[in-house]
Subunit: 503 residues, 2 copies
């Protein structure tokens, strides 16, 4: 029951792998909107979903959106179209939805069909929500991690490499910009790939990009690691565990972050580049991904167990995540703070967190005895060796090593929120700070963000600066202010809630 159609390219990006058939053809072939069809061109095959048009394509034509990339199609190509059976992976997703554990090959099939765009967003969402609500055993998470690696590229650096990773959720976490140069300065190899922000005001790649380019191919990364010992690059174009992006594309609009998927996502990227030793930062506290110490410890143990199964030595640092790290949130503000810290300044909390995590890597790799890694990392930072290494990294990545903190382009539209009363800062809201920075334009607007003049426990007087909002646009600044009015970024002990709209 296949039929030949003439291809026509339709220059629209829809975010889905759909094709368009003429209404009469669709009716004759008994296709309804979003039915799955198999498209064959010579020996290449691909599955897509059907959109229907009465006039954009004529009878006998099939329209390909720009998102169709499985094989090249040009106007006039002859392709064959037939009804595609539902992929068996859909059955496995349903099995998981019914609460049943999946086998290694069932999970592999789901991941493979996700990567091949054979599953609709809805089907991928069903899988992720089943992970969220039904959960997964450590066996299943192991299979998921491996399947995500097997369906993507891998990089073999040919030597032992270490890494650090934060499970995220805490704003202003620019520690990577300190840890990588500290660790590389000590002679360990740290090929750090980072992501851009999805829901946060700034991803590590967004922040690093203010100091140097972050997009590189595999060969360039290998050279960087060999020559400098470390880099901070964007991982997005490397096709490591490509399933991850497709899962995130669904998780993000749903605001879900199923634990098994989060673990597999992190560990698959490490496995794909052959990481030997991993320090995992688990920010814990109100408003972070993990709110209490017990859950953090359980999660850490699960990561260690998963690491054992994958051949990655894992140690976890449970850090305080109840307020932003350091005093800044937003790409340029964070890059500035990181640079200041490398140059000998910077807030103590940022120094402590970065050097503790770097120290763990030293201890795991025999550079320091147990309990002495932290001191070694601090020494490397204090001595300026980390800053020298960062200059090398910036320079090799194509940036200007002489860049100064004040060179960073902060938003010129600013608004200060002051303390409405004397007292102690009793809370800082991660959620509010994130929302304010996003509303101000971060991460697209590199200069947008939030600066904190006081953090939890600070004593402030009425009228003292507490929060300053930065943006490049007046309109965005206004939006950010209105977010702050609705959801206050901080509380002063004893402050009346009713007075808040007054600031």
């Amino acid at each position: 029951m296949s039929q030949k159609f003439k291809a026509r390219l339709i220059k629209i990006k829809t975010g889905e792998k759909n094709v368009i058939l003429n209404e009469s053809d669709a009716e004759e072939m008994m296709f309804r909107i979003h039915d799955r069809v198999l498209i064959t061109k010579n020996f290449q095959r691909s599955v897509a979903m059907v959109d229907i048009s009465e006039s954009v394509v004529e009878r006998g034509e099939i329209g390909f959106y720009e998102d169709f990339s499985e094989f090249p199609v040009v106007d006039g190509d002859l392709v064959e179209v037939s009804a595609a059976p539902t992929p068996t992976s859909v059955e496995f997703i349903r099995k998981k939805m019914r609460g049943k554990p999946l086998t290694k090959s069932e999970i592999h099939s789901i991941v493979k069909d996700t990567v091949s765009h054979n599953l609709s967003k809805l089907e991928v969402a069903a899988f992720l929500m089943a992970e969220e609500y039904v959960g997964m055993s450590i066996d299943e998470i192991e299979s998921l991690t491996k399947a995500m690696v097997e369906t993507g590229k891998t990089i073999d650096f040919g030597e032992r490499v270490v890494d650090k990773h934060s499970i995220g959720g805490v704003p202003g976490n620019k520690v990577t910009l300190l840890i990588v140069p500290i660790v590389a300065a000590a002679g360990l190899k740290i090929p750090k790939t980072s992501s851009r922000a999805i829901t946060s005001p700034s991803g590590t790649a967004d922040t690093m990009e203010l100091l140097a380019p972050v997009e590189f191919g595999e060969e360039e990364l290998k050279r960087l690691l060999r020559d400098v010992g470390g880099y901070i690059a964007w991982g997005g174009s490397l096709d490591l565990a490509p399933a991850d992006d497709l899962f995130i594309r669904v998780e993000h609009p749903l605001s879900i972050d199923p634990r098994p998927q989060m673990m597999a996502s992190i560990m698959s990227k490490k496995l794909a580049v052959g990481v030997d030793t991993l320090v995992l930062d688990i920010p814990t506290g109100k408003g972070a991904k993990v709110e209490d110490f017990e859950s953090a410890r359980k999660l850490g143990n699960d990561f260690i167990e998963l690491g054992n199964r994958l051949g990655i030595r894992v140690r976890c640092g449970i850090t305080y995540g109840g307020q932003p790290v350091g005093h800044t949130v937003g790409p340029a503000l964070e890059a500035k703070e990181a640079l200041e810290t490398l140059m000998g300044g910077g807030p103590n909390s940022l120094i402590e967190k970065s050097t503790s995590l770097a120290g763990m890597l030293f201890e795991m790799n025999g550079l320091a005895t147990r309990g002495n890694g932290h001191a070694l990392a601090k020494e490397i930072l204090r001595s300026g060796k980390a800053y020298q290494k960062m200059r090398e990294i910036i320079s090799h990545q194509g940036g200007n090593p002489d860049i100064k903190p004040d060179d960073l382009p902060l938003g010129t539209e600013r608004y200060v929120i002051t303390a409405p009363a004397d007292g102690y800062v009793s809370s800082i809201s991660n959620r509010s700070i994130n929302a304010i920075a996003r509303a101000a334009g971060a991460p697209v607007d590199k200069g947008a963000g939030v600066k904190l003049y006081a953090k939890m426990g600070y004593s402030v007087k009425k009228g003292d600066k507490v929060v300053e909002i930065y943006s490049s646009r007046q309109s965005k600044l206004r939006e950010a202010i209105s977010v702050a009015m609705r959801d206050p970024p901080f509380m002063i002990e004893g402050m009346l809630l009713e007075e808040l709209p007054g600031f």
Copy 2:
């Protein structure tokens, strides 16, 4: 930050309310694919999601797909576009996802945004999956039902009306074609709206359509009810509880049927037409929606409680749903069997089930004393009064009342599956029968379906006909046969599984 754009119509149906912006405009306005935008034309406003094109629309233009129907747009119209905030209902969906109960107004907001297409399919899916996994209290189900009624049209027949409904899941359930004329013949008013098949081989509306037209407007339905006392119409065009279709559009590809949604779906349609008395058929058995008696009883009690809150008197009949009702599955085959039964023939199981359920309505409405409704219904069927009423219904709906069972157009391509051994039929698989009938072309191919010559417990000899597959197309018949090979529609006691591919 709104900007004016010139409308351009794009004749594609995508099943989503999307619009297309030029890549450069999208970048300048900081829109990413599938971001929400607010579109304003004069005083009309609508929210849509953004697709991006580099050439289908030029800079300054906005493309409207055919699915955009909130307000009329013609080529060249000037509309204003700005970033749309995430609807608050998304927050409520997330609240439900976190396991929290929702208030009446939160549920109303979700349903309203679903009907206004302000929620993406993914967001609707998240809500339904949260219903599935988290569940809903009876308070929440009541709110959901009412919200679904309030966001649609209602019909007031101005008199007391009764109804019957099956929760579905059992193939061949053509009892509505018997119950409506039986009940109407006794003088009760039964305005029966039915659905077309979604996942089944034939919906009641599909089956009825072989005897008479089923699509009517509100005024025609009122006239039919007044003049004939009953009708069997398609409910799809009446805009009763329109949220239902939008929920089903997501449930179907995910193969989910969350219990709260199923209850609200059924009861909202009844509430919207002012049903006073409802008999609910709960088919129970292996392969049906409800597999065991205890679950059926619990579900029935929940329906009765929900009915109480909505002012609908409900009685539930738990019926055997472990195999198809009667001997036929598929639109024409079922219409034929129903007609034969009304004319005095038909299988006993079909007669018993229809008259039991009709009898319950008689008892609830004082036409028979408790325990005597069944006998009255049987008498109305046997006497030919039900057939006469059905002729009236067919005629008033615009069909030919003289239609004979043999007039119904059965598929001419047929295949018989015989018993591979002597023995008793030990099981009939609903799932397999459904899949075979769908593969054969039902419900689009009206003549396609399955006829059962033997049902559970029948004694058969090797070589006896057990199942006959009907289709209008050789190729579809072959597909149906291969489904039957993979998933046998019946088992003979003692039959070796290994012999199955032999038939």
